[in-house]
């Protein structure tokens, strides 16, 4: 029974991670591609971590390491996305739609 629950979470997690990667491939420009790694993968990793938590907790000691991975991911994913986007905007990376003005680049 437990194995089935763990498997469901693993497949769910892996599925979302896969969707995130497909997004990286399919989306039209840099800015839209950013959405893949910041979101679809969060739930993907979430699924894997829940599975890991259940698996290791069922073998004796309660395992809560995974909560920390989640915490650090939630703190760092927005920061890296922000910096990537900011840098892209600064370098005027090609976009499907008009880019907004970049404050830091002086005309």
């Amino acid at each position: 029974m437990l194995d089935i629950i763990i498997s469901i979470f693993l497949i769910l997690g892996a599925g979302f991670a896969l969707v995130g990667s497909i997004g990286l491939l399919r989306l039209p420009d840099f800015y839209t591609r950013l959405h893949g790694p910041t979101k679809a993968t969060t739930l993907g990793l979430g699924g894997l971590l829940i599975a890991s938590m259940i698996y290791f907790s069922s073998r004796g000691d309660v395992s809560l390491h995974e909560l920390l991975v989640t915490l650090f991911l939630f703190m760092t994913a927005p920061v890296s996305a922000h910096l990537l986007a900011k840098a892209a905007l600064h370098l005027r990376v090609r976009s499907e739609i008009d880019l907004p003005r970049d404050e830091q680049s002086k005309p």
Partner: protein, 165 residues
């Protein structure tokens, strides 16, 4: 200033450090609790110089509710974005949106920007130099005004209330 305040300038930060250390080691042994307590006392003191401005957690209960709301939204956001990615590409309407900030505290703005990045189809890109607007990129924006109104009521209002700024 009382002795407790002097010893614990950032009580919540200290508590988080304590919990993180115990979680990292996956243990509740006396030795590690002692070590965690020492770290929880020393680290806030050692990093005091880097703290921008003090911000008080006015409503811890609301903060917890907000966290659960965000976790739920992240789950929904994932499914939503997954659908967008797998759906026909032509239907995407990406857009840059200037979001007018009502918060005036850097830490609160950071929390809002991180929340926006983690939730449905939006990534925060940049804060204007006067800290009045947040540039947000939406993956599929139907109506800019509606997006702004949603962020305002769903995320910014609670953050404003939680930190009382």
């Amino acid at each position: 200033m009382s002795i407790i305040k002097r010893l614990l300038p950032h009580p919540i930060f200290s508590l988080v450090l304590l919990l993180v250390w115990l979680l990292l080691n996956n243990t509740l042994s006396a030795g590690h609790i002692l070590l965690a307590s020492i770290l929880a006392l020393v680290l806030p003191w050692a990093t005091a110089g880097f703290w921008a401005d003090r911000l008080h957690l006015h409503k811890p209960g609301l903060a917890l509710r907000f966290l659960l709301l965000v976790l739920w939204d992240i789950t929904v956001a994932n499914i939503h974005v997954a659908k967008l990615i797998l759906g026909p590409r032509r239907k995407l309407r990406p857009a840059f949106v200037d979001y007018p900030l009502a918060l005036d505290n850097d830490f609160a703005i950071t929390v809002l920007a991180a929340t926006i990045s983690l939730t449905p189809g939006t990534v925060s890109i940049d804060v204007s130099s006067d800290h009045r607007t947040l540039l947000v990129h939406g993956l599929d924006v139907d109506d800019e005004e509606a997006l702004i109104a949603e962020i305002k009521s769903r995320y910014e209002a609670p953050i404003k209330e939680i930190f009382g700024c």
